[in-house]
């Protein structure tokens, strides 16, 4: 199960071709491919952007854990993005010599390009506070927007959200809240008056920890893919997808938990013993809430209910990267444009060169890299789809037609989600979409 390739198609297929509007894509998935066509340029684009994404992600996961575990319920967290040295140096569990499951052959500490950017930004070396106020820094707001998407959409699969509504969680949160505000009569008084507000804030912090633990895995995955590509060992889009599939399985059982450190003591708000896993409680909910749904970005849709621009049904939300019109509308601070700016800082030279050759060159490289990012996330989604097929259905080279039909139904149901006009699945089939 290390590759998803099917048997070469010289024999008569065991089931007739699909008649779905996306039949070509479905047949490609059934042959072990990705939703993204296998071309050298697609591979170059997605690997380059994975690397550009992984560097700020290396900050996101660290700071998310810093916020969830240490900043915690600080009522005025003005310095939550001023990550402590301890969390900047936190060893990534999947990189470095100390990793029990080493995904990236690189080191476990913060990526050197990240450290360099944190020191100088786009401008020059100056005190951290000035970088922060000038907004010449990693756009951590993007990470928190992703957390908000997961938090607001809530039950995107797994048991995490149900646990946050349980009495056990409430008791754990209560202990932590009282410890955090020990001796603070004003805050303890507010907690007595508005207990639900405090518990809800802790739930939000639990989702913050969830996302931090999710991205702690993805950063070394993307770094390793970039290194393998540079070494000539990743030579096709399906191979890149397979690397992701194998990574998803390898880390599927990683515990998802929320520990808060208050007064030198560890409070297990969500203990590892609850059995929550990276695959079911983090990755799958993340993909659903962030890749597919998210929420309409302020300035792009009217939030006036009478305007009917936002669906009444949450399941119809279609604002994730898979449906994005990448051309930004210029409103400052839309989460995707924050990420695009972050990625711009860490583009490998071959992508900088590629963007100079097309469209408006450097003038619209943010759009070009945004579309590259979209292609890359269609590849990640393909990996998730193939991993789910692998886990819950049948091998691609299964000889039982009933099994192949079950796989086919699954792929078709996944493609149904891209039938709506906003989906970009058709656009990414051509190289000219830039």
């Amino acid at each position: 199960m290390t590759t998803t390739t099917a048997a070469a198609g010289t024999k008569t297929p065991l089931i007739p071709p699909s008649t779905h509007p996306y039949a070509d894509v479905i047949h490609r998935l059934e042959a072990g491919g990705s939703m993204l066509p296998d071309t050298p340029e697609n591979l170059q684009q997605i690997i380059g952007i994975y690397k550009a994404y992984a560097v700020p992600m290396d900050f996101y996961w660290r700071d998310l854990l810093y916020i969830a575990e240490r900043v915690f319920l600080n009522p005025l967290p003005a310095f939550k993005y001023f990550i402590s040295q301890e969390y900047l140096d936190l060893p990534n569990s999947y990189a470095g010599d100390q990793a029990s499951l080493r995904i990236w052959r690189g080191g476990e500490k913060a990526h050197p390009e990240l450290l360099e950017f944190m020191a100088k930004g786009e401008t020059r070396a100056m005190p951290k506070l000035l970088h922060h106020l000038w907004h010449d820094r990693v756009n951590m707001e993007f990470a928190e927007a992703c957390m908000q998407a997961m938090f607001w959409h809530q039950g995107m699969g797994g048991r995490f959200n149900d646990y946050l509504a349980s009495e056990v969680y409430r008791a754990n949160a209560d202990r932590a809240i009282k410890a955090y505000f020990k001796g603070n009569l004003v805050m303890l008084g507010l907690y007595k008056l508005f207990p639900e507000m405090f518990i809800e804030k802790v739930r939000q912090l639990s989702y913050t920890a969830n996302l931090g633990l999710f991205w702690e895995v993805m950063a070394p995955v993307f770094f390793e893919m970039s290194d393998l590509y540079d070494e000539g060992q990743l030579t096709s889009v399906p191979q890149a997808m397979d690397f992701l599939v194998n990574g998803i399985f390898a880390v599927a059982g990683r515990p998802i938990y929320h520990h808060a450190y208050i007064g030198g003591e560890c409070f297990e708000i969500i203990p590892k013993s609850e059995g929550f896993t990276w695959l079911y409680e983090a990755a799958l909910p993340y993909v659903e809430a962030v890749f597919y749904r998210t929420s309409p970005f302020r300035g792009t849709k009217s939030y006036n209910a009478q305007a009917d621009q936002v669906p009444a049904n949450q399941a119809d939300f279609h604002y994730g990267i898979l449906y994005a019109d990448v051309f930004p509308v210029g409103s400052a601070g839309i989460p995707p444009t924050l990420l695009m700016q972050d990625m711009l800082h860490f583009l490998p030279p071959y992508l900088q060169e590629l963007y100079k050759q097309h469209r408006r060159g450097e003038e619209d490289q943010l759009i070009q890299l945004g579309i590259t990012f979209q292609r890359s996330m269609y590849n990640v989604t393909s990996a998730v789809i193939q991993a789910l097929r692998c886990a819950l259905l049948y091998p691609l080279d299964d000889t039982n037609p009933e099994h192949l039909k079950a796989n086919r139904s699954f792929f078709e149901a996944q493609m149904d989600r891209f039938l709506r006009p906003e989906a970009r699945l058709s656009d990414i089939q051509t190289q000219d979409y830039r």
């Binding site: 199960m1 290390t2 029990s100 499951l101 699969g157 048991r159 599939v245 194998n246 399985f249 390898a250 880390v251 599927a252 059982g253 990683r254 515990p255 590892k272 013993s273 609850e274 059995g275 929550f276 896993t277 079911y280 799958l284 789910l388 886990a391 819950l392 259905l393 049948y394 009933e402 099994h403 079950a406």
Partner: protein, 133 residues
């Protein structure tokens, strides 16, 4: 008559499963009176998972226990009884679907040997590790 775990031990094809049961701390429960219906993946089923999958689970007993409990139903059910219902409640909480009565298919696994009777339940040998979802 041997218990479920004694039967698995004697069969010689469930080394990984037994190691996982021990790592997850489920030995005592599965040696209990039960009765249980256990869908037991053979060693090859675990070996077919991508590299690192089993190791990550073995390193994290509560997470491993969840996956193992998904292979257990409370009560002793033979094949003839299993096919009478579309879904069975696993100890993990998620349902286990019966996808085909003959050959007996549990979720995406095929039962290669059914109805191995033990003192505290029934074992059905399967060719894949089944996962919730």
């Amino acid at each position: 008559m041997p218990t479920i775990l004694e039967t698995a031990q004697a069969a010689g094809a469930f080394g990984t499963l037994l190691a996982a049961v021990d790592a997850a701390g489920l030995r005592e429960a599965l040696e209990g009176p039960g009765p249980f219906t256990v869908f037991a993946p053979i060693d090859a089923a675990f070996a077919a998972l991508p590299p690192g999958t089993v190791q990550t689970l073995v390193d994290n007993p509560p997470q491993l226990a969840r996956i193992l409990k998904y292979h257990v139903i409370a009560g002793a059910y033979h094949q003839a009884q299993l096919v009478e219902q579309q879904n069975w409640p696993s100890l993990e909480g998620d349902p286990i679907p019966v996808r085909c009565p003959n050959p007996l298919e549990i979720k995406n696994a095929t039962v290669v040997t059914a109805d191995v009777v033990c003192s505290n339940g029934v074992v059905h040998v399967i060719d894949r590790v089944i996962l919730p979802g």
